[in-house]
Amino acid sequence: MVAVKETIADVKRLESDKYKYGFTTEVEQERAPKGLSEETVRYISAKKDEPRWMLDWRLEAYKRWLEMREPDWAKVNYPKIDYQDIYYYAEPSSGAKYESIDDVPPEILADFERLGIPLREQEVLLGVAGAAETAAEAREKPRVAVDAVFDSVSVATTFKAELAKAGVIFMSISEAIREHPELVKKYLASVVPTSDNYFATLNCAVFSDGTFVYVPKGVRCPMELSTYFRMNAEGTGQFERTLIIAEEGSYVSYLEGCTAPMRDENQLHAAVVELVAMDDAEIKYSTVQNWWPGDENGKGGVYNFVTKRADCRGKNSKVSWTQVETGSAITWKYPSCILRGDNSVGEFYSVAVTNGAQQADTGTKMIHLGKNTRSRIISKGISAGRSDNTYRGLVSIHAKAEGARNFTQCDSLLIGDQCGAHTVPYIECKTPKAQLEHEATTTKLAEDQLFYARQRGLDEETATALLVNGFVREVLQELPMEFAVEAQQLLKVSLEGSVG
């Protein structure tokens, strides 16, 4: 009965703090002038101290963006975004670069600490943030290197030195542009082209910070890497850019977390993530997305318009996307794999929870180009309140992809009679030597299971949480340990108030 006790305790804890990341931090901010123009692009580039080629690249993207139209095919509704009413850049006025952790304003450090992200390495080592743990216990915990992005600026990157010993480059993308221009030039926009889509092009023009990871040949990255994104400033959009390159035979696991304060207005988040996996390389990318979803009536919340794509360039390469999507007012996100190398593998595990007035349109694309490529899609959508949850995915097998295999499973769960669950899969097959399977179901929580759980003394909310956790287990078990626990809690918070 330990598990039950824990579940009850979890739920109790959650009653007091429904969205516990909704606080704001008072930091003096310096912002780019409101609105988007060539000047804004120049301002951001200058702030980042970027070389000329980078500025030209941004300006080119900006020109293209002006000619593009905002996509409207997703099953989401939101008022038209005024792109001139957003700040495209915000940094703490103490500066955008910190030589050491001691230079970072204490308010920001405190902010991250409140979020449970310790940025001082010794604290991480001793588990100070974990309160009562002993040093010995803390040492046994797997360590995670963190890049912390606060609005438009990367404030700290931990364990850089230790990672450098292994040859792994882990830094903010602004630093990488200055320190490793050859790598950035070679790989930036090589997976998501500059003019890929409206939001990706916007990101190219105004991206402010993000993470750069380079794992050299044959290296197994010694620790989990992670980036924590925090939106704090009012009226500001966040446009981060992440680029991960895994050379031949290397392995890296990367985690991403995001939160934002509760605000009445809508905030725009348009990120681009590019992954490149060479021969025999493997990248595992996990996301727990918990941007502020807006209040019950749909006021405020983050618009999460993200382009994530992986290129399995090498033979036997593998990319695995795992996502837990609980936040954001609107989610528009399709982490994809281009399976170019022979025998490459793409995986997509997703849990998307919508409650209140949230709308999510999310899924994946698996493009099979190489021989014997394999992909697996497991998507679990949970809708509650008045929300809408859509799975949209593409599996495309090209004529040369002999021996390709795909398995897709999309399950939807409806809690309450005011929400919607939708499945929109596209399947294209151009070879007789492939095998594709797709299954989808939509159901409500089984009454008999709920009844059984309640017979055992659980209240309705706890019983629901238990069943939902069972429903999404296949996905959660793909998450790294630390994240899995957090994700489970998150699911419970997100569904709170949806029963009865």
Binding site: H422, V424, H438
Partner: protein, 369 residues
């Protein structure tokens, strides 16, 4: 005054609408603005009508025969309805052929499209408590582009069984569409057999009132060289306790292209809906293609909805096994494909009809092996 001869299919389609008023006029204006559907239209992603009808022009005609004499009725539509092929078919005729069989159990309809652009439409009503079986046969001359609409209304207690055999010429385009309304306790059973054409699309938009209404939508397609068969369904469940069972099976060989698009929309009121949709496609050789989009859009929480989709090729093990038993490879292949497709014919109750269709399919499959 000189009459300007139409130079393409769109102009030819628009010609009879000159001076049209009401919904026909509105529809013509919409068509003139948007043109014929292309791949850029989400609903026509894999079936490009504008491209397929290139070069087809001149006024055509649909020859129509039926086993009983029809009546006539007028249609009322809204030009903004999201059902292009059906609007096109019904806009092209002033009066619609109408059947309401009462003392009859079988109705045979035969449509043959002659060269050029043409439209035809019919409405069939299953009167309350009646049971009727309708056989529809479609064929054409080469270079025909026809839009044919056959709508059904199934009243309470009625049972309508519909068998559609599409035998279009390889160089012709057929947009065959059906708007179907099934009232409470009504039953509608449809089986489509399509061999494709340059582009053949069979589209069903069905509205089920629920309340014990039962719907079965089955289809089999076998597309060979240069052929394109598109089977599209959109089912709207409006009331509680509706049932839907849907199975589409098909094979593509010799460069054929099969398309399946299915959508089940369950309204908030349609609690206790039980809906199942399955598509299975088999690609026999290189250059052939099968695309599928099985969609669910669900707003009611107490439902059981599922869809499954599988695309693969002939089971090599089974082929090997059959050869071991002394069957020549070609025979083994044909048998495997036939038995694969046969499941989709299971709901044809009239044995002789089923046997005729099996015979036709079997003959067609002989080319393949």
């Amino acid at each position: 005054m000189a009459v300007i001869e139409p130079t393409n299919a769109l102009e030819q389609v628009l010609l009879p609408f000159k001076g049209a008023t009401g919904w026909r006029g509105d529809f013509a204006a919409r068509l003139k603005k948007d043109g014929l559907p292309t791949r850029r239209d989400e609903d026509w992603k894999w079936s490009d009508v504008a491209r397929a009808t290139k070069g087809i022009t001149g006024a055509g005609k649909v020859q129509f025969r039926s086993s009983v004499n029809p009546e006539w009725t007028e249609v009322r539509r809204a030009a903004d309805q999201d059902f292009f092929a059906n609007l096109l078919a019904f806009a092209g005729v002033m009066n619609v052929t109408y059947f309401e069989p009462r003392n009859l159990t079988v109705l045979d309809l035969d449509f043959r499209a002659l060269k050029g652009v043409s439209q035809a439409a019919a409405t069939i009503v299953g009167a309350p408590g009646m049971s009727v079986r309708v056989h529809e046969h479609y064929s054409s001359e080469a270079q025909a582009f026809s839009a044919i609409g056959v709508d059904y209304v199934v009243w309470p207690g009625a049972r309508v069984e519909r068998v559609i055999l599409i035998d279009e010429a390889p160089e012709s385009v057929l947009l065959l569409s059906s708007g179907v309304t099934v009232h409470e306790t009504g039953e509608f059973v449809q089986t489509v057999i399509s061999q494709g054409g340059k582009l053949v699309r069979h589209e069903t938009q069905l509205h089920s009132a629920g309340g014990g209404a039962k719907v079965t939508l089955n289809a089999a397609y076998l597309v060979g060289k240069g052929a394109h068969a598109d089977l599209t369904t959109r089912v709207n469940m409006h009331g509680p306790d509706g049932k839907l069972s849907q199975l589409t099976k098909g094979i593509a060989y010799g460069g054929g292209h099969g398309v399946f698009q299915g959508k089940i929309h369950v309204k908030r009121e349609a609690q206790k809906t039980d809906a199942r949709m399955t598509h299975k496609g088999m690609i026999i050789d290189e250059k052939s293609e099968i695309d599928a989009k099985p969609e669910l859009e669900i707003y009611a929480d107490d439902v059981e909805c599922a869809h499954g989709n599988a695309i693969g090729t002939l089971d090599e093990m089974a082929l090997f096994y059959m050869q071991q038993r002394g069957l020549p490879e070609s025979e083994a292949r044909r048998l495997l494909v036939e038995s694969f497709l046969d499941e989709a014919l299971a709901e044809i109750t009239h044995e002789q009809t089923a046997a005729t269709i099996r015979g036709l399919m079997s003959k067609r499959l002989k080319d393949l092996v």
